[in-house]
């Protein structure tokens, strides 16, 4: 079963240099996990061991390993396929939050979400410019108690769009990112077909995202559509804007999907600069930024917690406010902050821009 996967992800190019394991944030904390050894074991042909191990669910898909691999092994692609294989054998990993985020997308397949959620913003249902808000309403319900405000992210995004004359129509729904990364290809395909159908019905010309995961999935995992896709930071990049005086020190946390996967590093920084925020860089930034510790709602434990703590300490060294571009990063950091005080605030990119812009 693994042969095809090895072929597709170029895993046979592996020269066993173990650079991937030396940079992997999980390996640094939990030595038993090693991306190199997963690849090596698959290459030797110990298939069952790989497919039955719980190690394959620990990978964050952050892409640091691909960044340093000298042979160009597509480890993330490899991991996704291996997880798909493992799932067929009944090894499904331990989803976080009691599996709620596996059940919600399935409900979305059957029911359309038709809600009037945002206040004080202008939207137009017939617009061919679409704001894909993703799962924000559900994050809002699930993570209220740790101070996550998904509504604020969606409202800020639409407010910024309104400011530049765009009245978007809004779609709430799951892009299928988590299903795909957890190896549930069937669910992903169903969600993808549903989304494509919906976009066709609305005759979409342009889709704007505030969530990097949705953006990545639409751009890299969906078949190419005749639609312009852009992240809100790309939309704002060429706009004229004025800002106020930033009273605090800010730093920017590059999320894996927006940074390493999509290569968007400068746009959000430039936008922040235009509204008067000088971003102070953390020790690990841009290509080498460290992940927030969990991805695709899978396997959250002390390892994830440790990674978050390190990251928060790193941020505190240079700033008072950490700006994230991904709602999930914000949720994860706020979760750690809810039981341990690091004296740092976590805010979303759009939230900060909407606050500062004049």
């Amino acid at each position: 079963m693994l042969e095809g996967i090895i072929e597709k992800s170029k895993a046979y190019y592996c020269v066993e240099c173990r650079k991937c394991s030396s940079i992997c944030p999980i390996t640094r904390i939990y030595g038993k996990f090693s991306p190199a050894s997963i690849v090596e074991r698959s290459l030797i042909g110990i298939e069952e061991e790989v497919l039955n191990s719980m190690d394959i669910w620990k990978c964050l898909g952050c892409g640091l390993c691909e960044e340093v691999c000298p042979s160009g092994v597509e480890f993330l692609h490899f991991m996704r396929e291996v997880r798909n294989g493992a799932r067929k054998q009944g090894n499904e990993g331990i989803p976080t939050h009691e599996g709620v985020f596996e059940s919600i997308p399935k409900l979305m397949l059957e029911k359309n979400i038709d809600m009037d959620w945002l206040d004080n913003v202008e939207t137009d249902e017939k617009s061919d410019i679409i704001y894909f808000a993703g799962c924000l309403p559900f994050f809002d319900i699930m993570f209220k108690e740790i101070g996550f405000d998904g509504k604020c992210i969606a409202e800020s995004t639409v407010k910024l769009l309104n400011k530049y004359g765009v009245k978007p129509s809004i779609i709430y729904g799951c892009c299928g990112h988590d299903a795909l990364w957890n190896g549930n290809v069937e669910l992903f395909n169903e969600l993808m077909n549903k989304n494509m159908q919906m976009l066709k019905e609305r005759k979409a010309k342009k889709i704007i995202f505030s969530c990097p995961e949705c953006y990545r999935t639409f751009k890299m995992d969906y078949p190419s559509m005749d639609v312009e896709l852009m992240h809100i930071s790309e939309f704002l990049a060429d706009k004229d804007m004025k800002g106020g005086e930033a009273g605090k020190e800010y730093t920017f946390h590059d999320s894996c999907r927006l940074g390493r996967h999509l290569g968007i590093y400068e746009e959000p920084r430039n936008v922040l600069k235009k509204v008067g925020i000088k971003v102070k860089e953390m020790e690990h930034n841009k290509e080498l930024a460290v992940c927030c510790g969990t991805s695709a709602w899978m396997s959250c434990d002390w390892k994830s917690e440790e990674i978050r703590k390190e990251r928060l300490k790193e941020a505190k060294k240079v700033a008072d406010v950490m700006i994230t571009s991904c709602p999930k990063c914000q949720i994860h950091f706020k979760c750690t902050l809810s039981h341990e005080n690091y004296g740092i605030e976590v805010k979303d990119f759009v939230e900060v821009v909407a606050e500062m812009i004049k």
Partner: protein
């Protein structure tokens, strides 16, 4: 069928003997390392007392607690198996149109899945203790709120 009385044996940690190696954390979800206290925590509610951690602790710091006063009595017509969830055999009972949860074992993912399949979710209070269900239980409210988004109200019932 006679009422069966069960007892849950959770484990506890002798902190003086514990070396903080975290082997228990790596093998079981019920353990957690508490950095602030530099100690291992056990989740006594989810611990089924299987004893694997006791066998693998190099410092012999983990032991069974035999006397936490929790007894389980099952009077429903259901065969209870050894090492059943919480030893009370009542994690959730699936019927044709209902999925019945014990409040302690309420699982939001499973509840949503059941509603999707057209079932009703019923949450009952713990069979073995007198504690009442908090109507404003955070997780029940969350599930209800999620279902409201899908316009599927009143699918979760507390008994």
């Amino acid at each position: 069928m006679l009422p069966i009385t069960f007892k849950q044996y959770s484990v506890a940690i002798d902190e003086r003997a514990c070396s903080r190696c975290r082997i228990c954390v790596s093998i079981c979800e019920c353990f957690e390392y508490d950095e602030a206290r530099d100690a291992i925590r056990v989740n006594t509610i989810s611990c089924k007392g299987c004893g694997i951690c006791i066998a693998s602790c190099p410092s012999s710091a983990i032991y069974h607690v035999y006397d936490d006063g929790i007894y389980y009595e099952i009077v429903e017509k259901r065969e209870a198996a050894a090492f059943d969830c919480l030893n009370c055999g009542y994690e959730c009972v699936e019927e044709d149109e209902k999925l019945i949860f014990c409040i302690r074992r309420f699982n939001m993912g499973k509840a949503l899945e059941a509603v999707r399949e057209g079932k009703e979710v019923v949450i009952k209070k713990c069979l073995l203790s007198d504690e009442k269900i908090d109507e404003k239980d955070e997780r029940i409210l969350k599930i209800e709120e999620i279902l409201t988004v899908f316009k599927m109200e009143k699918k979760v019932k507390v008994e």
